[in-house]
């Protein structure tokens, strides 16, 4: 272990966990309302970022305007997906619907490639590109104080992402619409019987998921550039979402942070073999947690009365 660099790597790891939590949230939103694991989430991320890029770079609109347009368009895309792809599948086995989202991911990826082309692009900076924040910690290692150097970009992405998760979480917990969505996730037929419009609720969850994906896509693109592989980044959110529990919004934060942290900690190792295993770390953590708590850290336990 490289103790000098450990705090630095741990902190950057945690900060990188913010956007992961946001991506995980997109998956949880859809799973919570309809019990579907959405494999097309990564493509929603990609398309959101591409739309933002197109309006701001190609058309030269101000960045914030482009982001607003991208949010609106992605919300519409979410609604269209629900209406055209999901609704005709009502009553079909869940597995078919989940596989349909896999197909949907390919269609979206293909259309993105078709319309925008596959080259690497420079994404405009959202946050002011000032000097990195320097934090001098009270800890001392071998006579030198430990200093954390944090890129502004990373810090602000983290804050935006976590705020996003908290806002959506509060919406679910405290509003009537959120309550209706939680109810629908438990039992579709029962929700219908008390007069909830479940298709509208599914529509809203796809809309929210697409909006969340766009925010995540913009945050990631601004720190690491934009190309077709952005959709694969969402793979890091799969372990996060399973770790936190598929139904749990607070769980996405914990899951995202844990995944980020685990990747960060591995990079601090002096052993080259371990240092290079950052990509598989999330899944190792996931395996360990699922062995002990199969429903994830905050997932719903099945209620069984005895």
């Amino acid at each position: 272990m490289n103790w000098q660099l450990l705090p630095q790597f741990a902190t950057t790891g945690l900060l990188a966990g913010g956007p992961i939590a946001l991506m995980a949230l997109g998956l949880v939103l859809i799973f919570k309302s309809s019990y579907i694991f959405n494999f097309a989430q990564g493509q929603l991320l990609l398309i959101g970022a591409l739309i933002t890029w197109w309006f701001s770079v190609e058309l030269g609109l101000p960045l914030w305007v482009s982001i607003a347009i991208a949010l609106i368009l992605s919300a519409l895309l979410g609604l269209v997906i629900e209406r055209l792809a999901l609704r005709p599948m009502t009553g079909q086995p869940l597995l078919s619907i989940i596989l349909m989202t896999l197909g949907l991911s390919q269609v979206l990826q293909g259309s993105a490639l078709l319309f925008f082309g596959g080259n690497q692009r420079n994404f405009p900076q959202i946050f002011p590109a000032g000097d990195p924040y320097k934090i001098i910690t009270p800890f001392v290692y071998e006579g030198n104080p430990i200093v954390l150097i944090l890129k502004q970009n990373l810090v602000w992405s983290f804050i935006v992402a976590i705020l996003g998760v908290i806002v959506i979480g509060a919406f679910f917990k405290f509003t009537k619409a959120g309550l209706a969505m939680r109810a629908t996730s438990e039992d579709h037929e029962l929700a219908q019987s008390i007069g909830l419009r479940i298709h509208r609720i599914f529509g809203i969850s796809w809309m929210l998921a697409a909006v969340v994906a766009t925010i995540g896509g913009v945050l990631l693109a601004t720190s690491s550039g934009l190309d077709m592989s952005l959709s694969i980044v969402v793979l890091a959110a799969f372990p996060a979402v399973l770790l936190g529990g598929l139904e749990s919004i607070p769980g996405t934060i914990i899951g995202g942070l844990l995944i980020g942290l685990s990747v960060g900690l591995v990079s601090a190792s002096t052993n080259q073999f371990i240092r290079n295993s950052g990509e598989i770390m999330p899944y190792v953590v996931l395996l360990l947690v699922l062995m002990i708590r199969p429903e994830g850290l905050f997932g719903q336990k099945r209620i069984e009365r005895i």
Binding site: E186, I194, L196, I303
Partner: protein, 268 residues
């Protein structure tokens, strides 16, 4: 004029299985009507046909009309039926298990659209007046309630939609006799105090007829008998074969059974 009229309803599941073969019935405003019959007679399907909940079971109304308050409702989605004040309480005390008691009640009022906090409070108080026990448990996760409390919660949730008509499926299923008595007292109260009409499906025919004003008996997808509750209680056929009210200890003669079978064929 009757509040609910079913006119020669036929229902087919999965395009092949015919479950209702021409069911007609009427419910007058402010009455409890019992729908009796053996398992598989089509009682629950009749309720689902009215509430629009056949969709989720891949069932279709292929013939006939359903009128509620003078308007046809047989082509409406379930949420619009609820908005008109007609709600079905599904069999088996189905709750949103992970929501608290109060959340379960509040979600029952969502279908009414925008309601003020004052209305919501008043409706909650009304439900707690019917079921004082629920008020003590309002913060509890509903999945851990006892069977009787769950049944109360399910009825309370339906009341939150401000219904004029309730389709109630097997409220006594698996409950202790004392609790059943309490539930049935509430059924009477809903009719007498709130003027809610109730179409009641119930296996315990004796009990159902004790609160009902009128009753229909179904068999094999048809209505085979109907009449006022008193008349049906005193009907020999019903007593013997649907209600199981025969004198205990008396010998049964095979001739009676044969007579019944013939009579049943003729009725069906």
């Amino acid at each position: 004029m009757s509040q609910l009229t079913l006119n020669n309803i036929e229902v087919i599941y999965c395009d092949v299985i015919q479950v209702l073969r021409g069911v007609s019935l009427e419910v007058q405003p402010g009455t409890v009507v019992a729908l009796l019959g053996s398992n598989g007679a089509g009682k629950t399907t009749t309720l689902r046909a009215i509430s629009g909940l056949l969709v989720s079971q891949d069932g279709k109304i292929t013939r006939g009309t359903i009128e509620y308050g003078g308007e046809r409702i047989d082509r409406l989605p379930p949420d619009e039926v609820v908005q008109r004040g007609l709600i079905q309480i599904l069999e088996g005390r189905r709750l949103f298990q992970h929501l608290t008691v109060e959340e379960n009640l509040v979600v029952g009022s969502v279908a009414r659209g925008r309601t003020s906090d004052a209305t919501l409070k008043r409706d909650l108080a009304e439900v707690y007046r019917y079921f004082p026990r629920l008020e003590d448990m309002r913060k509890r996760v509903s999945g851990y309630l006892s069977g009787g409390e769950q049944q109360m919660l399910v009825i309370g949730r339906a009341l939150m939609s401000n219904p004029r008509f309730i389709l109630l499926d097997e409220p006594s299923l698996g409950l202790a006799p004392l609790l059943v008595a309490e539930i049935f007292r509430v059924i009477q109260q809903m009719r007498d105090q709130s003027g809610i009409s109730i179409l009641l499906v119930e296996q315990n025919a004796n009990l159902a007829l004790s609160v009902a004003d009128y009753a229909y008996v179904m068999d094999n997808g048809r209505i085979v008998l109907d009449g006022s509750a008193e008349r049906l209680v005193n009907n020999e056929d019903i007593k013997e074969f649907y209600l199981g009210l025969n004198q205990l200890g008396e010998r049964k003669s095979y001739r009676d059974v044969k007579h019944y079978k013939r009579r049943k064929r003729w009725l069906g």
